[in-house]
Amino acid sequence: MGLDLDLAYIIRVLPLLLKGAVTTVELAVLAIIFGTLIGLVIALAKIAPYPLLNILGRIYTWVFRGIPLLVQLIFIYYALPAVGIEFTSFQAAVIGMSLCGGAYIAEIIRSGILSIDKGQMEAALSLGMTYAQAMRRVIIPQTYRRLIPPMGNEFISLTKDTALVSSIAMTELLRQAQLRAAADFKPMEMYFAAAVLYLVLTTFFTLVFSKLESKLALID
């Protein structure tokens, strides 16, 4: 038996899948934005000259990298209401993905900062800058270009990880496909189309990031 796809059916449900794909991208974009903010804070905590902050940073990474994202999502959406904290599935998805993404992004930012020559911090401090000023004005701006490739990878990982939020009733791309596949008895068509759409998204973002990288390489 060959691959016998009902193309007309796929085309008919495509708008629905595209709607799911838009939600997927929305989720990934929000998660990378909030994840970056969280990651920056955690990275700074981990390298700050304060042991207490270092420990807090390490605990964060330990928890959010050590627990599977799927478990985190389910916990936020299904367990937290038991203590009176309720989120819509979209909110829960963004929170879960940002918290988890933040743990990985923290490592990316941390190693970016550590890759900057120590003399830079010393030069900044010797001018009379505070540690915070030195970070903001001298160290962090030098990491931007080095961060583009790993952040691009992280964004693509997050895009793929959005598939997990289908488990908390979030109708993104995979969930749309599941619902239609069950209703229309067309699993092959629906999941094939969903898989292709994911591939289109990740390929598109890969291209965007490598463009961005070579653009930035030209500037300096």
């Binding site: 020559d117 003399g119 830079q120 010393e122 030069a123 900044a124 401090l125 010797s126 001018l127 009379g128 800058m129 505070t130 540690y131 000023q133 004005r137 001298v138 701006p141 030098q142 300096d220």
Partner: protein
């Protein structure tokens, strides 16, 4: 102006500074020489608390250095430092490097900082490089920008840690010229260097350091003519 007493510093088992005491008067130019690993950089870095001593004290203008952030940043802003490897900020232009301190630390208005920054670049002979990136400059030019960057804070003291050691021989002169001019203006300077010509010509006092101790100090005439300490003699005979 600088008063150092009983300074001690170890890195783990390594005793790098051993009971160093030192007084530096305003306008004095001190040259520190000594073998590699003897603690010259560490001593210099203690003077602006980039390195925190284990014991002993350092007073700048009568104010004892502590780790208190506000105090230490204020004191550091009065002490310029020039590094062997320049440490210019690569993401900024030459002029931006020079005005960064005044803008961020002193909150100087931009127009004023630019005016002063341009004057300083003029002074170190690099007015035409204001828009260049550090990576586009020669080592000698980078070091002169680094001096201008330090001077932009209008420091009372300048520390130099082997400012010409990373330079090709033909670029050493242009940096020394700037340093000599600075000394002539009456800047208080502490210079770690192997440039004995500079020490002879400019230093008020030469310190010889080995194994974390000041083994000999004196005027350049005394020091170069007849060092009393054996290790200083041996060191001099090797480098002269």
């Amino acid at each position: 102006m600088i008063h150092v007493s009983d300074l001690d510093k170890s890195f783990g088992q390594l005793h790098v500074l051993n009971n160093i005491s030192l007084d530096i008067a305003p306008g004095e130019v001190i040259v520190i020489i000594g073998p590699s690993g003897s603690g010259k950089s560490t001593l210099l870095r203690c003077l602006n608390y980039l390195e925190v001593p284990d014991s002993g004290s350092i007073a700048i203008d009568g104010e004892i250095l502590t780790l208190h952030t506000q105090d230490i940043t204020r004191i550091r802003s009065k002490i310029g430092m020039v590094f062997q490897r320049f440490n210019l900020f690569p993401h900024m232009t030459v002029l931006e490097n020079v005005i960064e301190g005044p803008l961020t630390v002193k909150k100087t208005a931009r127009a004023e900082a630019v005016k002063k920054g341009e004057a300083l670049l003029e002074k170190v002979g690099l007015a035409d490089k204001r828009a260049a990136r550090p990576s586009q400059l020669s080592g000698g030019q980078q070091q002169r920008v680094a001096i201008a960057r330090a001077l932009a804070m209008e420091p009372a003291i300048m520390l130099f840690d082997e400012p010409t050691s990373a330079l090709d021989p033909e670029l050493v002169g242009e940096v020394l010229v700037v340093m000599k001019a600075l000394a002539k203006e009456g800047m208080t300077m502490v210079v770690v260097t192997h440039e004995m010509g500079f020490a002879r010509e400019v230093a008020d006092r030469v310190l010889f350091i080995d194994e974390g101790q000041i083994l000999e100090e004196g005027s350049p005439e005394e020091f170069f003519r007849a060092p009393k300490n054996e290790r200083a003699q041996a060191f001099l005979s090797k480098i002269l």
